[in-house]
C-alpha cells in the first residue's frame, strides 16, 4: 500500500479498459456486429440528429477564434495578407481536431456512459443476456460501427464550418485582407494529405472516446449516483486522451516535415 496504490490502480483500470476495447473492436472486425446492423443504423441516426449541430457549433466558434488571433498576429508583424497561413494551420492541423475531440467527449462520450449506465443500473443489460443476445455486441459494437460510419463525413463538414468561421473573422470582421488574398494563401498552405492527417487524428480520438464511454457505461455500478460518477470519470480519461492524441498526431504527421510551400 501507500503511494504505489494509486498508480497500480490506474494500471489495472487501463488494462481492464484495453481488454474491453479489444473485445468490442474484435466484434466489429469479426463482422459479428452485422447481425445487429439495424441497431447500428439506429445509432447512426441518433448520432446525426443529436450531436452534429453541437459539434459543428463548437468547431465554428473555435474557427472564429483562430481567425481573430491570426488576423491580429499577422497585423502586428506587418503582413496581414498572410493571415491565411495562421488560419489554415490553426484550423486544419490543430484546433478543429481538438474541438471535435472535446465535443465528442462531452456530448457523445458522456451520452453513451449515461445511457448504458442507466441500462446497467436498471438491469436491462442482464435482461438482454437472458434473452440470448450478446450485450457487448448489441450495445457497444453497434455504437462503434455507427461512429465509424457517420463521423468521417461529419468531420469533413466540421472542417468546413471551421474554415467558414475563420473566413468570416478574418475577411468580414477584421477586414485587413481581401477575400481573394486570404483564400490564395489559405489554400496554398494546405493540401489533401494534410486533411487526411487531420482526419486520422480526429478518428483516433473519436474511436477512443466511444470505447471509453462504452467501458464506463457498461461497467457502471452503485445506483443513480454511480451513473453520475462513471460519467464524470469517463470525462477525465477522455480529456487526457484527446490531448495526448493531439500531441502525438502532430509529432507523427508534422513533426519532421512542416509541409509548407516555403523554400526549396
Amino acid at each position: 500500500m501507500g503511494w504505489l496504490a494509486v498508480p497500480k490502480d490506474w494500471i489495472s483500470t487501463f488494462g481492464e479498459i484495453a481488454k474491453f476495447c479489444g473485445k468490442i473492436v474484435g466484434q466489429v472486425y469479426g463482422l459479428r456486429v452485422f447481425r445487429f446492423f439495424g441497431e447500428a443504423l439506429r445509432q447512426c441516426g441518433i448520432l446525426i440528429l443529436s450531436s452534429t449541430l453541437v459539434i459543428w457549433g463548437l468547431v465554428f466558434i473555435i474557427g472564429l477564434q483562430c481567425g481573430i488571433e491570426g488576423a491580429y498576429f499577422t497585423r502586428s508583424v506587418g503582413a496581414p495578407a498572410y493571415s491565411g497561413v495562421f488560419a489554415a494551420w490553426c484550423d486544419l492541423r490543430e484546433l478543429v481536431p481538438y474541438a471535435f475531440g472535446y465535443m465528442m467527449a462531452a456530448k457523445v462520450g458522456t451520452g453513451i456512459v449515461a445511457e448504458l449506465g442507466s441500462m446497467r443500473i436498471s438491469d436491462e443489460i442482464d435482461a438482454l443476456e437472458v434473452m440470448g443476445i450478446n450485450s457487448v455486441t448489441f450495445l457497444c459494437a453497434t455504437r462503434l460501427l455507427a461512429a465509424w460510419m457517420v463521423l468521417p463525413f461529419m468531420y469533413i463538414a466540421a472542417i468546413g464550418a471551421g474554415f467558414f468561421a475563420s473566413y468570416l473573422a478574418v475577411v468580414q470582421q477584421i477586414g485587413d485582407v481581401s477575400s481573394g488574398g486570404f483564400f490564395l494563401i489559405f489554400w496554398m498552405f494546405q493540401n489533401p494529405p494534410d486533411m487526411l492527417f487531420s482526419m486520422m487524428k480526429a478518428m483516433v480520438m473519436a474511436t477512443g472516446i466511444v470505447l471509453v464511454g462504452c467501458y464506463y457505461g457498461y461497467n457502471a455500478s452503485g445506483g443513480p449516483v454511480g451513473v453520475g460518477t462513471a460519467t464524470a470519470k469517463s470525462m477525465v480519461l477522455n480529456i487526457v486522451f484527446v490531448h495526448l492524441i493531439g500531441m502525438l498526431g502532430t509529432q507523427l504527421f508534422w513533426g519532421a516535415n512542416p509541409r509548407a510551400p516555403i523554400g526549396g
Binding site: 481573430i68 451520452g111 449515461a114 453520475g228 460518477t229 460519467t231 477525465v236 502532430t250 508534422w254
Partner: protein, 268 residues
C-alpha cells in the same frame, strides 16, 4: 399544420431561452447570497477547493504540456525554422499560451473533471431528495451548496491559469529543445513580448470561465430528474453547455481585449 410546424421550431428555442434565463437568475441569487451575511460556507468552500485541486492537477498537467508542445510548439517552430527565426517562438508563446490556450485548456479540464463531479454530486442529492430535505430543515441550498462551489471554482481556475501557463511554456521549451536550439533566445523574446495586460487579461478570463462552469454545473445538478438516467443526462448536458458557454465567452472576451488594447499585439 402551421401550428405544429411552429411548435416544432419554437418549443426547443423557448426551452433553451428559459434555461439560460434560469441560469442567469441562479447567478444573481448566488452573488447576492454570497455577499449577504451570514457566511456559513467557509468549510464547504475549503473542501470544494481542495477537491477540485486534487482531481484536476494531474489531467491539467498532462493536457497543458501536450497542448503546448503539439499545437503552438511544434507547428510554430516548424514555421519559424523555415525562416531561421526559431528565437521568435518565445514571443509567439505569449500570444499562444497566455492569451489563448492556457485559459481554455484550464476551462476544458475544469469543466470536464471538476464540473462533471459537481453535477454528479448535486444531481445525486437531488434524486435522493436531499436538497428538498435541506430546504425543509431551513437550510438554503444556494447559500450552502452553490455559493461555496461558485467561489471555489472561480479561485481554483484563476490559480490553475498560472499553473497551466507554466506547463504550457514548458511544452514550448520542449519544442525548442527538440529543434536543437538554445533556450536563451526563447526566454529573451518571451519576456520582451510579455505584458502585464496579457497576464491580467488571462487571469480575469480564466476566473470568469470558472464562474460559467460553476453556474452551469450547479444548475444542471440541482434540476436533475428522472432517476438513474437523469443524473447521467444532467452531467452530459452540463458539460456540453459549459463548453459552448466557455468558448463563446472566450471569443467575445479575446476580441474585446485585442481591440481595446492594441499595444499588446505589437511585436517587440
Amino acid at each position: 399544420m402551421f401550428r405544429q410546424i411552429a411548435d416544432r421550431a419554437f418549443l426547443p428555442t423557448k426551452s433553451v431561452l428559459e434555461e439560460v434565463g434560469d441560469m442567469m437568475i441562479l447567478t444573481g441569487k448566488t452573488i447576492v447570497s454570497a455577499l449577504r451575511p451570514p457566511y456559513p460556507y467557509g468549510g464547504e468552500f475549503v473542501s470544494q477547493f481542495l477537491f477540485a485541486l486534487r482531481l484536476c492537477w494531474f489531467p491539467l498537467l498532462v493536457s497543458t504540456v501536450a497542448f503546448g508542445y503539439g499545437a503552438p510548439g511544434l507547428q510554430a517552430a516548424n514555421f519559424l525554422v523555415l525562416f531561421g527565426a526559431l528565437d521568435r517562438l518565445g514571443g509567439f508563446f505569449v500570444l499562444a499560451s497566455i492569451r489563448e490556450f492556457a485559459p481554455f485548456v484550464v476551462a476544458i479540464v475544469l469543466a470536464g473533471v471538476a464540473g462533471t463531479a459537481i453535477t454528479a454530486d448535486l444531481g445525486a442529492r437531488k434524486i435522493r431528495e436531499e436538497l428538498d430535505a435541506l430546504q425543509v430543515l431551513g437550510v438554503d441550498p444556494v447559500k450552502n451548496l452553490v455559493v461555496p462551489r461558485f467561489l471555489a471554482l472561480m479561485v481554483v481556475t484563476g490559480l490553475f491559469d498560472v499553473y497551466a501557463l507554466l506547463f504550457g511554456i514548458f511544452g514550448g521549451i520542449l519544442a525548442t529543445l527538440v529543434n536543437g536550439a538554445p533556450l536563451g533566445p526563447f526566454w529573451a523574446t518571451f519576456f520582451t513580448n510579455a505584458s502585464v495586460t496579457d497576464l491580467w487579461g488571462s487571469l480575469v478570463k480564466c476566473t470568469l470561465f470558472g464562474a460559467i462552469i460553476a453556474i452551469v454545473c450547479c444548475y444542471k445538478g440541482m434540476t436533475a430528474s428522472g432517476g438513474a438516467a437523469g443524473v447521467g443526462r444532467a452531467v452530459n448536458q452540463a458539460v456540453v453547455i459549459a463548453f459552448l458557454g466557455v468558448f463563446a465567452f472566450n471569443y467575445v472576451f479575446t476580441q474585446t481585449l485585442l481591440a481595446t488594447h492594441p499595444e499588446i499585439t505589437v511585436i517587440k
